[in-house]
């Protein structure tokens, strides 16, 4: 379907443009402004050029060290949860019941964690994993493992990764399920006649059909895990030490904890640029996939 060119459509877009500009452009300009200035308080600012940026990108300084450490932790976290959630989500989507009331019931139960406020997700796991009052913590302790996510960094990581898997695997599963549902029955019948194995059906029919939704799932999960804040903040507060301090937690510490405006602003801009770059890749690949789907 070819859409007509009509510049008057700008009038329809204008309200959105205004409101998003108000909540995105003005704040971003403030950030840019802070990032090139320094202050001694009293609202007196002076020009600092790229000073904050060179400090941020230099590992040997305090700021640079904190930035690269939290960036590394965040990338590791995103990699781990993607490696767990994507295969698990595919397996669950493939195991979904085919029809009947069970489909609806499973869908609703699966989606439940997605709709819980993020701080309550944190609270739920904080309670669930505690050794003294939580079922999980008590059960693991009863098995003879001295499990304590408050003092042991490894246990803190395991807790947060498990929490994220609990929270978001359903999203991957739901997207894959939506992709699987679009496969016509005739494909499966043809495969059965050919005597294709379960693996061959998955490789040649199901996986290609899920490709597009998987792409969306991977990028949504990457984005959201890359800006994760509330859940680990509630469970561990970034600790023990700094072991679960991710980028957003580090940034909020700088900006709202210490009111280090210049440093926080420089970090914000680099952070935002990374997101923007990934987002652009996402958009390009997605529109290409859309165009291919439209042509087919």
């Amino acid at each position: 379907m070819i859409k007509p060119v009509n510049q008057k459509a700008w009038f329809l877009v204008a309200p959105v443009l205004l409101i998003v500009a108000f909540s995105a452009v003005i704040p971003l300009m403030t950030v840019v402004n802070y990032s090139v200035q320094d202050t001694f308080g009293n609202n007196q600012f002076f020009w600092n050029g790229v000073g904050w940026f060179s400090e941020l990108l230099d590992r040997s300084t305090d700021l640079g060290g904190r930035f690269f450490d939290s960036l590394g932790r965040n990338l590791l976290f995103s990699a781990i949860i993607l490696a767990i959630e994507v295969p698990l989500g595919i397996v669950i989507a493939l195991s979904m019941p085919r029809e009947g009331w069970r489909v609806a019931a499973t869908l609703v139960l699966m989606a439940l964690p997605l709709l819980i406020p993020w701080n309550v997700v944190g609270t739920i796991w904080q309670i669930f994993a505690r050794g003294d009052i939580g079922l999980l913590g008590a059960a693991v302790n009863a098995l003879g493992v001295d499990y304590n996510y408050v003092s042991n960094p490894l246990h803190a990581w395991i807790t947060i990764v498990t929490m994220d898997v609990w929270h978001w695997t359903s999203l991957v599963a739901l997207l894959c399920y939506a992709g699987l549902k679009s496969i016509p029955d005739a494909y499966y019948q043809a495969a059965r006649i050919d005597g294709a194995s379960r693996w061959a059906v998955f490789r040649t029919i199901q996986l290609p059909k899920m490709q597009r939704v998987l792409l969306i799932a991977v990028l949504l999960r990457f984005m959201d895990s890359f800006m994760i804040y509330t859940e680990p903040f509630v469970v561990t507060g970034g600790g023990p030490g700094n072991s679960t301090t991710f980028l957003s937690i580090e940034l909020v510490k700088l900006a709202l904890g210490q009111f280090d405006l210049g440093k926080a602003a420089a970090l914000s801009i680099v952070y935002n640029l990374i997101i923007l770059a990934v987002c652009w890749v996402f958009y390009t690949v997605m529109t290409k996939a859309d165009a291919k789907a439209g042509a087919a």
Binding site: Q7, A9, S23, V91, T106, L251
Partner: protein, 265 residues
């Protein structure tokens, strides 16, 4: 598939256990929570819920949250409707770039915006009002609503627009009388997701409020950090925040994937 059923059952068990534990705890007394490990409440109590419904600092949290969430849902869907129509029907200068810009705002980390929002809304005197949070959440909810609505609108054949124009409908009348009813389910889904994403967000809501508009999520974190935790009340407050999602999820069950994937599935 026999194995499939087992996988689904195990997975659902994994999802439900932590939620069960929260509900279980909300009906226990604090002595029972801290002294013995019980799989169900042995001394059933409703005191935790009673405390929330009678203490203004607790129930006001819910009212404040609902205020900005509802405001934000109305703003987001209202602003997004005409824009989504423009994207679904026309090509215009810069449309692709605009669409990308909207997407990039949905993906922007709220932590980046916390401090500038704080300054901005303090400067214009909206700090600590529901309007501040409602407007701040437009950052990610307006793009979301545009993307979802655009998906639904593209499913409506353009012939309907043309027929209405020939029949002498003006654009506003056509939009309200004919087009809006056709995409009613899309509006419902968009509203649901705006409601949800505003409801689950904590960082911006907490930064932009202090006393008068404090959301329930912030009330809960305060209790977490206080010495001598009131676990029972905390659990009860958590259970109450699950209710809006649990209530409406049945109605949108077929659109969950679509909504989370920005209408692209």
């Amino acid at each position: 598939m026999r194995g499939g059923r087992a996988i689904i059952l195990l997975y659902l068990l994994f999802l439900m256990l932590p939620i069960y534990w929260l509900i279980n705890m909300s009906f226990k007394t604090n002595t029972e929570i801290t002294s013995v490990m019980t799989l169900w409440p042995h001394t059933l109590t409703f005191d935790n819920y009673k405390k929330i419904f009678t203490d203004p600092s607790w129930y006001n949290g819910y009212i404040n949250s609902l205020k900005y969430v509802i405001l934000n849902t109305i703003l987001s869907v209202g602003f997004a409707l005409p824009a989504a129509y423009a994207f679904s029907r026309y090509r215009f200068l810069g449309d692709k770039h605009l669409f990308f810009w909207l997407l990039s705002n949905r993906m922007a980390p709220p932590a980046v915006f916390a401090l500038p929002f704080f300054n901005l809304y303090s400067a214009i005197g909206l700090f600590d009002t529901p309007w501040a949070v409602a407007l701040a959440h437009c950052l990610f909810n307006v793009p979301l609503a545009v993307w979802i609505l655009e998906g639904f609108m593209s499913g409506v054949p353009r012939e309907i627009d043309e027929t209405a124009a020939i029949d002498g409908y003006s654009f506003p009348r056509f939009f309200l009388k004919i087009f809006t009813p056709l995409i009613a389910s899309g509006i419902g889904v968009a509203a649901f997701f705006c409601f949800m994403f505003s409801w689950v967000e904590l960082l911006l809501a907490r930064t932009l409020t202090s006393v008068n508009a404090k959301p329930i999520a912030a009330t809960m974190t305060r209790t977490v950090s206080a010495a001598g935790m009131d676990w029972g009340v905390l659990a009860a407050a958590g259970v109450l925040t699950l209710i809006p999602g649990a209530l409406v999820i049945w109605f949108v069950r077929n659109y969950i994937a679509k909504g989370f994937a920005l209408g692209r599935v």
